[in-house]
């Protein structure tokens, strides 16, 4: 027997015990088979015996009974044999022999273990009894030793001989089990055992209890006698079997629970555990859960909610499989990070969704390798780059300046050997498929999607020789690692007080789903899905109908809002209701570009869809499901054959996909299952290569930027409410508003001429340019932008409203007719991509408040802004909210979960500047957190620069009479991307003005560069210069209205050098 102590030895011993017990069970099982003859039982013994020995592969058995010899064919007798006689009534009637076919290491009895001697003796004894019973059946029955009933005794006896400690633990467990079941005998026994301990000073509660040994094994075996009186033999055997397996896994629990075990050790423990070939599910429920929880904590996250879900779905086997594809630095204690954890859980949930097997059965997850979160630390340490950790405390412009160097340094650094080795292995496993390196950081896990996208995800074409591929992969990883120290995430962390958070970044190295089309590699389609639809384009769509953003090719274009392109939107619950209906709309809002990996140049590229289809349309998978054709003014689905995308005008509609394939049903089921099981709305990424559907990412939707529900206060005084509504509310944030443009439904209806009606639209367009961007709401009757009866809605195009923050449609009853609202359908996708919120209101309905008193009564500043449209003042009202309310702003809170939206006057918070500054930047994590203050330096710096320009300008040379600054710089609302609006009052001299324009252009370019260093926002120029002349000022045309304006006037600057 090996010396005790090391885990290895305990393991080995336990494994042997398990084998032996298993063998014994099988023998006992045979004894219960009434259908077999004695000779058949002997034959069967040849099969069940060898696995009980230490080297089963080199082992065979030979059974002799009543002179008949049973042995495997061509069995060769060797000197390495263990033998036990079969004895009935004192007479030897045969024997059991176990042979090794080759020499094995020396042990207790030749090559045989001491336990094996006990095993063969036990078996021989049992077989002898069995033979005796078969020969004298009546005696057996009298003895009452019915089948399994007595088995547990054989097992316990055997164990007592081989592993007394195990018997003791089992006995203790049996005692507890019986006591909890209220069995008095057991409780008495337990008390007796406890009494032995009670002598010591239990009374003194502050003193640690002396450690006592548990009752000796003999006392514990008594427990089985008690059990025999209350449980059936089968029950006892089952308990013993289960507990022995639990006992076996204790080493694993220990390995996982101990904080200092490295991931490598855990993996090792899992390997050994798996080698038991004892399926996970045979462990008792509690132990299984315990293991799953511990593994989830070590590998995934400390988040209790998440662990709670993970323990239900992710099995020990799953962790084992994941660890086999996990690359860890030496002695790693890292985690996989938020993104990996989310995907892992989602994939298991789908696998367990048995009731959806028809729809979700085929959904796959791309093959993925993981690098643990501490890989980045080991990389930094290995290259002595530790200084970089303090880099985050530098000034942001310095960080931005140095960042390109950090990227270069990282790319030229060596990877620690464990990582490089692991990645080389991963490449062999993944093959030549293009890869994506995705960050999966701890902060992403903590902050949710509000933080995602801050770090890089890079595509790698993965082509060429192994060396080239590895080089490219390492470069990509180095760059992703460097992004931890990028200016944007650092600034974001600084603003939220997260700079000191210990950030680590795990990686997912994932196969890119797709196939080859010409020189490109791309999925047939990809997209993102949301289980809650926050952008409903029809009253018939419910929030729970969900939303898909679909694009052909790589999903990058669906994930981000792309300025010049549109994804196709589908609500899986109402797939028939499309956003775009007329052929014109369908074509206008169709995706025009596609993201691909060019396998020849080995680069990520964006190309025109028409070019791709023209050249390689026939190779494009599912092309007929994805593309429709524009034909003679209509949009038609291509017929089933003979269609050549090179000769017709294709337009991406996904019409075939939604109508002719189960895709939508599957997506709907997928979103539903994930939402139900994760108990939160989710947000997923997916792709299809034309054959299979792949899930790429899954996270809670509540984290998605712009979509956090705002808490609605209940104690707002009536006079501070502008509107309150309870229908078609979406979640989302509207920045605090300083202006309201109100088209009075009655006033508008009373306009007498078509000219006046269309002038309202034109005036709105002018206001859209004049009012501060994203700080005003448009409120008007019926349908904005509709081309129907002009009386029923202001006729505007998207460019007339594109700077608004909120678009409201008032469905004001007129007689017995309530006008329909449009849901913004005429520019719906533009609204979505620009994050302009839409809200209809139905005055007169219960619980709806619409403060027309304020909207009609507040001073109308239209005449001051646009004197030429003053004749519309009865219909068109412009309200300067701070002026009308003594400094307050309009705050709009929208909460779709409560179906409630509230517009109220509020004191502008410190954060107004933040909210005002930039809609494009996701502003908030979940609601309820303290408002985030955005640095004021953006406008201060801009104002200082404007003053500097004015001081430097030579008024005589350029004919400058005066200079002003207006817009966000003047209003202290400038964000990092804002430009500086300058108004220059010039002489009408053309040459001078041109020279000035060139001079200012120089400034503009320099300031853009400086601003880039400060903020990372690239722009062609930072100045937006408007020239006005005396004539303009006299006529109050163009921007001249800003000079001395009543509302939001331009601020004069001191021109020329100080005297």
């Amino acid at each position: 027997m090996q010396p005790e102590g090391s885990t290895d030895n305990i393991m080995l011993a336990l494994r042997e015990r398990a084998k032996e017990l298993h063998c014994l069970y099988n023998v006992l099982e045979l004894m219960n088979r009434a259908d077999l003859t004695l000779q058949e039982v002997c034959e069967a013994l040849l099969v069940v015996l060898p696995p009980g020995w230490q080297f089963p592969d080199a082992c065979f058995a030979r059974v002799t009974l009543d002179g008949v010899v049973h042995e495997p064919p061509r069995a060769l007798r060797t000197p390495w044999v263990q033998k036990a006689d079969l004895v009935v009534h004192g007479h030897a009637i045969g024997s059991i022999e176990v042979y090794y076919t080759q020499e094995m290491p020396e042990s207790a009895e030749g090559p045989f273990l001491a336990e094996e001697r006990k095993l063969i003796d036990t078996i021989a004894e049992r077989v002898s009894e069995y033979v005796a019973q078969r020969q004298a059946p009546r005696v057996a029955k009298v003895a009452g030793a019915s089948g399994r009933g007595a088995e547990w005794r054989v097992i316990v006896d055997f164990l007592r001989k081989t592993d007394p400690a195990l018997v003791s633990r089992l006995g203790r467990r049996m005692l507890n089990y019986l006591s909890w079941d209220g069995i008095l005998d057991a409780q008495a026994l337990l008390q007796r055992a406890a009494a032995a301990l009670a002598e010591s000073g239990m009374a003194d509660e502050n003193r640690p209890i002396d450690r006592r040994n548990l009752p000796p094994p003999d006392a514990m075996t008594e427990a089985f006698d008690v059990a025999a009186r209350h449980l059936s033999g089968d029950e006892i055997v089952n308990c013993i079997e289960k507990w022995i397996k639990d006992d076996k896994s204790s080493f694993l629990i220990e390995a996982v629970e101990r904080q200092h075990t490295s991931l490598a050790e855990i993996q090792h423990a899992l390997d050994r555990y798996e080698s038991f070939a004892a399926p996970d599910r045979e462990l008792s429920g509690a132990v299984q859960k315990g293991l799953r929880v511990s593994l989830a904590r070590r590998l995934l996250t400390d988040d209790v909610e998440f662990v709670n879900k993970a323990k239900m779905y992710i099995s020990v086997d799953d962790y084992h499989a994941v660890l086999h594809r996990t690359i860890t630095p030496a002695a790693s204690h890292g985690k996989l990070g938020g993104k990996s954890a989310g995907l892992l859980l989602a994939a298991r949930i789908i696998r367990h969704a048995h009731e959806y097997v028809d729809t979700l059965g085929g959904i796959k997850v791309p093959k993925t390798w993981y690098v643990t979160s501490d890989g980045v630390l080991s990389f930094i340490e290995h290259n002595q780059l530790d200084d970089v950790h303090n880099h985050k405390y530098l000034e942001i412009d310095q960080i931005r300046r140095e960042y390109p160097h950090i990227v270069q340094v990282f790319r030229h650094s060596q990877f620690p050997p464990e990582l490089a080795h692991g990645l080389a292995l991963a490449l062999d496993d993944l093959g030549h498929v293009p890869l994506i390196v995705r960050s999966s950081s701890l902060l992403e896990d903590r902050m949710g999607a509000a933080f995602s996208g801050k770090y890089k995800s890079l595509f790698v074409a993965n082509q060429g020789t192994k060396a080239e591929r590895l080089r490219a992969l390492l470069d990509a990883i180095a760059e992703v690692y460097a992004s931890v120290f990028g200016p944007d995430p650092i600034e974001y962390r600084a603003n939220r007080g997260l700079l000191d958070f210990h950030e680590e970044m795990g990686l997912m190295i994932q196969e890119v789903v797709g196939c080859r089309v010409g020189p490109y590699y791309l999925p047939a389609l990809a997209g993102v899905g949301f289980s809650k639809n926050e952008f409903r384009w029809s009253p018939r769509i419910a929030r729970d109908d969900g939303l898909l953003r679909l694009v052909p090719g790589l999903g990058t274009r669906a994930v981000d809002r792309v300025a010049d392109d549109y994804p196709v939107l589908v609500a899986p619950g109402k797939p028939g209701l499309r956003v775009n209906v007329t052929p014109d709309e369908v074509v206008r809002y169709a995706p025009k570009k596609i993201d691909v990996i060019n396998l020849e140049t080995r680069r990520f590229e964006t190309i025109a869809i028409t070019d791709l289809l023209r050249a390689h349309g026939r190779e494009y998978p599912m092309v007929r499901q994805i593309v429709s054709v524009v034909d003679d003014g209509g949009i038609l689905r291509p017929v089933s054959f003979g269609w050549n995308p090179a000769t017709v005008t294709p337009v991406v509609t996904f019409e075939g996909l939604t109508r002719d394939t189960p895709f939508i049903t599957r997506m709907q089921a997928l979103l539903r299952v994930l939402r139900e099981r994760m108990e939160t709305p989710v947000d997923i990424e997916f792709a299809s290569d034309g054959r299979d559907l792949y899930l790429l990412q899954c996270r809670a939707q509540s984290f998605v930027a712009d979509a956090a529900p705002a808490p609605i206060p209940h104690d707002v005084p009536t006079d501070r409410v502008v509107f309150a509504t309870r229908r078609f509310v979406s979640n989302g944030r509207v920045p605090d508003l300083t202006h309201i443009v109100f088209v009075d439904p009655d006033g508008y209806h009373d306009l007498a001429t078509q000219q006046d009606l269309s002038d309202v639209g034109r005036a709105v367009g002018r206001l859209n340019k004049l009012l501060p961007r994203r700080q005003f709401a448009l409120i008007g009757p019926g349908r904005w932008g509709s081309r129907g009866d002009i009386k029923l809605g202001v006729q505007v195009t998207y460019s007339d409203i594109n700077n608004a923050a909120l678009l409201m449609e008032v469905a004001a009853r007129r007689g017995n007719y309530v006008p329909e609202v449009s849901f913004g359908t005429h520019f719906f996708q533009d609204l979505v991509e620009a994050a302009i919120r839409y809200l209809p209101i139905f005055p007169g309905e219960p619980d709806v408040v619409f403060n027309e008193g304020f909207l009609r009564g507040a001073p109308n500043v239209l005449g001051e802004l646009l004197p030429e449209y003053v004749h519309l003042a009865g219909a068109l009202r412009v309200i300067d909210v701070p002026r009308a309310t003594g400094g307050m702003v309009l705050r709009v809170l929208m909460n779709a979960d409560a179906e409630q939206a509230l517009g109220m006057f509020a004191v502008p918070a410190e954060s107004v500047t933040a909210a005002r500054a930039q809609r494009a930047v996701p502003i908030e994590p979940a609601s309820g957190e303290a408002p985030v203050s955005v640095p004021e330096e953006h406008w201060r710096w801009r104002l200082a620069m404007a003053e500097r320009i004015a001081a430097d300008v030579d008024p005589a040379r350029f004919g400058v009479k005066a200079m002003y600054v207006f817009g966000s710089t003047k209003n202290a609302t400038a964000g990092p991307a804002s430009d500086i609006d300058l108004l220059v009052h010039v002489e009408a001299m053309h040459e001078q003005q041109q020279a000035l324009a060139i001079w200012l252009d120089g400034w503009s370019t320099c300031l853009a560069e400086l601003n880039y260093l400060r903020t990372g926002r690239r722009s062609q120029g930072l100045l937006d210069v408007h020239f006005v002349t005396d004539v303009d000022i006299e006529r109050q045309t163009s921007y001249a209205v800003k000079i001395g304006a009543v509302t939001d006037p331009a601020r004069p600057l001191k021109v020329g050098p100080a005297a």
Partner: protein
């Protein structure tokens, strides 16, 4: 509708009354032409995708069919009102009459928003509309066509339902706007743009200007503008400026090149909506100017072919002294104030009503071909269009000349006069 405020049918009445005064029409004729001959309003129950039944309101207004089967579009619009439909039906009567095609005027629609309907539901509305009105329309009585938010697909569903009701007999002439190969006509895409230039050519002729050597500035680069530029260039003219909407910048720009515009070249750098790529245009030697610069160019001809209300009181004065003709390719590009300014400056205005009637004329050709079940080649369609447009211009100009009316008034006068005559000749009044 309430008594106050703007009403499209009131406006149509005022316009009619003005011309009726010019024509000195008798009371009975006025009464007959002021309102539609027949109006149908009906309900269309549709079982929706979720199983419930929704009832939609449908219309068909036949304003006048004295000159032939009435003709007019079918609108799916949530804010459809009977007054809008009446006004538009009346306008169709005049429009067919001005180009002297033997058709009357009608309009119809369904109060619905296709944005909130699935394709199956829209198909059911189309079929339901036909079932309710089948006995009152037909190739020989009233011919619908696509309009706001209806497409060739809707027309085919309607045609199919009608033919099923007729026991499977084919009546492709029931409806127009069908795709080529399914009863549609070749040449339809070019028709409006070419029609504009046919009329322009005739106008230059009467003004004594040789088209070769003239220059023009065009607003818009959509379907109408592109074909107009193409044909105008073939006549020897040079378009030196085109303005178009830039979707990315959400403003329009004017693209100017003194050497002239080549349509194919511009098409190669524009999107499906006629948006021209600003950067590529610079590369081709175009100056990129503000959107309104097109009307300040030193050219002989202005061709607004984009939106309504583009030449207004506030910018009409900026039109260059050299400009002689404004050809209205778009609907209503000139406001009444601007019209006064143009009149004062003696600029010859080709009214939209006449100038862009190429489209409706081609619809008529489609119906003729459908009724024959024999389809012409493209050139045949376009040469017939030339003939129609030319004689329409000559007739309108003749009236304007003889009665010293503006071309706009003359066009209405001739149209209403033709309809009034037909009513009288039939003995209705």
């Amino acid at each position: 509708m309430a008594a106050t405020g703007f009403n499209s049918f009131d406006m149509a009445h005022r316009q009619f009354d003005h011309v009726a005064d010019l024509l000195d029409l008798d009371t009975a004729t006025r009464a007959l032409l002021r309102d539609p001959l027949r109006e149908y309003q009906f309900l269309i129950p549709v079982r929706m995708d979720d199983g419930h039944v929704q009832v939609f309101r449908g219309f068909r207004v036949q304003h006048n069919d004295a000159r032939g089967p009435s003709k007019g579009g079918l609108r799916f619009h949530p804010q459809e009102t009977i007054d809008t439909v009446r006004a538009l039906a009346m306008w169709m009567t005049w429009k067919c009459a001005v180009v002297d095609i033997p058709l009357g005027g009608a309009k119809g629609g369904v109060v619905c928003d296709p944005h909130h309907l699935s394709m199956r539901e829209q198909e059911q509305i189309c079929r339901g509309w036909i079932r309710q009105i089948a006995r009152d329309i037909g190739p020989l009585t009233d011919v619908p066509a696509p309009d706001v938010m209806t497409s060739p697909q809707h027309m085919l569903w309607m045609l199919d339902e009608f033919e099923v009701i007729q026991g499977g007999r084919h009546y492709p002439g029931l409806i127009t706007g069908k795709p080529v190969g399914m009863g549609g006509s070749l040449g339809r895409t070019e028709a409006t743009g070419y029609g504009v230039v046919f009329v322009l050519r005739e106008a230059l002729k009467v003004l004594g200007i040789d088209p070769a050597g003239t220059t023009a500035a065009v607003q818009g680069f959509g379907n109408v503008a592109q074909y107009a530029i193409q044909l105008y260039t073939q006549l020897g003219g040079t378009v030196i400026a085109v303005s178009s909407w830039d979707d990315a910048d959400q403003v329009s720009y004017t693209f100017r090149r003194a050497s002239g515009v080549n349509v194919e070249e511009l098409q190669s750098i524009s999107d499906k909506f006629g948006g021209i790529d600003r950067h590529k245009a610079k590369g081709l030697g175009f100056d990129v100017l503000p959107g309104e610069a097109w009307l300040e160019q030193e050219v002989d001809i202005l061709l607004p072919a984009a939106l309504e209300n583009q030449i207004r009181g506030d910018n009409a004065e900026r039109i260059n002294r050299r400009v002689r003709v404004v050809a209205e390719g778009a609907n209503g590009p000139t406001t009444p104030e601007a019209d006064e300014i143009l009149k004062r400056r003696n600029i010859f205005v080709l009214p939209d009503f006449l100038t862009n009637a190429g489209g409706v004329t081609c619809s008529y050709f489609e119906q003729v071909q459908s009724n024959m079940n024999y389809y012409w080649e493209r050139d045949e369609v376009l040469s017939k269009l030339d003939l129609k447009m030319t004689s329409a211009f000559v007739a309108v100009h003749d009236v304007a000349d003889r009665q010293t009316l503006s071309m706009r008034d003359a066009a209405y006068v001739i149209a209403i006069n033709r309809v009034a005559h037909a009513c009288r000749d039939r003995g209705w009044v």
